[in-house]
């Protein structure tokens, strides 16, 4: 080993340690920022170390890429609103996927003939997974952004086709190991990765996005691992494994929070939702449509209030209005807590970030298990754009597609105020019994406007 190689290798070891410490910092909000600095230092060391690599003969393309990427990255992170975080994450998974896939192609073009069988297999996986993550994440981004229909897009034979493509790709990787010179096979693997990414995400509905985003995170990590195996780079294997296990863990947590198995999310694809789910007709059922004044009166008479935010809060950017309502209530001596469901919103932790942005103290945010017993003792619950996570059908109705999903016992509280755009059951088509309950008041309209009007009510009307 030359002295340069020693420095180069040691820089990677140090970077790996720093990355693990960075993730460890995330175990609490106080230590998280300090941890992140360690991660940044680790990345800097790894990049500088790499520039010493003997295979690097020219720096023009490198500098151009670093510069362009940094400018774009800076611009995105400075301007993107917190409500668009799921879109940002989806987009960054696609960049990550594309980067690994292109590295795979470049590696194949450079030294296909000199690779061992194992490395060739890793290269095949890298390219396949990289392109899969790329298109899959673009599709997820499209669904979140709304230029691809958010509802599940399904057709007959879909799963057969997906599984076929997947098995075909595995076979192609096998063939490539035996015949590394067959460029057509390599291109077929790349093409099939692109296709599987599109096909796998098309049938998945918006409410399943937290699982999909976590899974794509995991694939991006696996692709990076495969790169590490193909290039014999331990730092890539380590980082890929960290990324992959984080994605896997999050997808398991998300699936559990929806009481669905992985297989069900991926292949079942809410297919059941296309059939009319429950026989309860929408029309003719009576619900209490309430005015802002009515809701204000209920809140004025309450001592304890729990806020349940959902994706609707993100859509109408109502997090600041929610915080203001809570502040107005607190000034009246009311105790306000927030109930955060693991799959509320479109990605893990989505609601937490939005409320943190609105300056809500994080010790008022409670997980499902920590707050669910409190609803029975609560005077009023304000549901802001949440639907499935407060649907009692998940507990009672075994024919419901969301049956078995752990939900908040919102219906047990004395009164429920639901802020919702309209009485539409939403794209999943699942009826929500809660909306028709005696003690539920439906305040229809844009959540943000309604909240602001409610704050006005609280301010003027004495006590």
């Amino acid at each position: 080993m030359t002295p340069t190689e020693v420095v180069f290798n040691l820089s990677y070891v140090l970077a790996a340690v720093l990355f693990i410490l960075c993730l460890r910092g995330l175990s609490g909000p106080e230590s998280a920022r300090r941890g992140l600095v360690l991660g940044q230092v680790g990345m800097l060391i790894a990049v500088v170390g790499t520039l010493l690599h003997r295979d690097i003969v020219r720096y023009d393309w490198i500098l151009a890429g670093l510069l362009l990427g940094s400018v774009i990255g800076l611009a995105i992170s400075a301007w993107i609103p917190m409500t668009k975080m799921p879109e940002r994450i989806a987009l960054s998974h696609s960049f990550g996927g594309l980067a690994t896939a292109l590295v795979g192609v470049a590696e194949y073009e450079r030294e296909a003939s000199q690779l061992t069988e194992f490395k060739m297999a890793a290269l095949g996986f890298e390219t396949f997974l990289g392109f899969l993550t790329f298109t899959g994440s673009i599709m997820a981004f499209g669904k979140l952004q709304g230029f691809i229909r958010g509802a599940p897009i399904t057709w007959k034979g879909q799963n057969v086709l997906n599984v076929g493509l997947f098995v075909g790709s595995l076979a192609a990787i096998g063939l490539l190991v035996v015949h590394p010179e067959m460029q057509g096979v390599f291109l077929a693997i790349a093409g099939s990765g692109l296709a599987v990414g599109v096909m796998a995400v098309l049938p998945i509905g918006g409410a399943d996005m937290p699982v999909v985003i976590s899974l794509l995170n995991s694939y991006a990590g696996l692709a990076a691992c495969a790169t590490g195996f193909a290039l014999n780079s331990q730092i890539l294997i380590i980082c890929g494994a960290l990324d992959g296990s984080s994605g896997l863990l999050l997808s398991m947590l998300m699936s559990k929070a929806m009481n669905r198995s992985f297989a069900n999310v991926l292949f079942g694809a809410f297919g059941t939702a296309l059939e009319p789910t429950s026989a309860v007709p929408q029309l003719g059922r009576s619900y209490n449509e309430a005015t802002v004044e009515d809701a204000g009166a209920v809140l004025k008479a309450s001592q304890t209030v729990i806020v349940v935010p959902g994706y609707g809060m993100a859509v109408s950017q109502a997090q600041h209005a929610v915080r203001d309502l809570a502040a107005a209530l607190e000034r009246r001596g009311v105790e306000v807590k927030y109930a955060i469901h693991p799959v509320a919103g479109r990605m893990p932790g989505h609601m937490n970030v939005l409320l943190a942005e609105a300056n809500v103290s994080y010790d008022k945010l409670f997980d499902l298990d920590d707050i669910n017993d409190d609803f029975a003792r609560t005077d009023a619950v304000v549901v802001v754009g949440a639907n499935d996570v407060v649907n009692p059908a998940a507990k009672k109705d075994s024919s419901s597609p969301i049956y078995g999903m752990p939900v908040f016992h919102v219906e047990l509280s004395r009164s429920v105020i639901v802020l919702k755009r309209s009485m539409n059951p939403g794209f999943s088509g699942v009826e929500n019994e809660l909306f028709f309950q005696q003690n539920t008041m439906m305040v229809l309209g844009d959540a943000k406007k309604t909240l602001l009007a409610m704050i006005g009510e609280l301010k003027e009307g004495g006590h």
């Binding site: 990345m43 890429g65 990076a224 999050l250």
Partner: protein, 108 residues
């Protein structure tokens, strides 16, 4: 065939194990920063992209250039946005004023 891949497999298994243990301790509160943080870290594919972009092979240089761009978007953007998020997670005094963000840290 060398024992290289066995060694790498060890690295992979151990890193997955460590990753799982460390990440299992991250509270749901911080799941979004976790995702964008690991995203930034997996931007380490930047090092592989650098080697592709800096090689003498022409196609590899171009592909590498695109890869370097994508990976550095993730590294720079990922770290910055994670920091932006983490800065927001603060414990605040019980009753905060409706408008101006409260800077004072709570001691209790």
């Amino acid at each position: 065939m060398s024992g290289e891949w066995v060694f790498n497999l060890y690295v992979f298994v151990l890193a997955t194990f460590v990753g799982y243990q460390v990440i299992a301790r991250v509270p749901p509160l911080l799941h979004t920063p976790l995702m964008s943080g690991t995203n930034a870290i997996s931007g380490i594919s930047l090092v592989a992209s650098l080697i592709a972009a800096g090689s003498h092979h022409q196609l590899s240089q171009i592909l590498g250039f695109v890869a370097v761009t994508c990976a550095s978007i993730n590294v720079v953007g990922g770290f910055l946005i994670t920091d932006r998020m983490l800065r927001m997670f603060r414990k605040k005094p019980a009753v905060s004023e409706a408008t101006a963000p409260v800077r004072k840290a709570q001691t209790s």
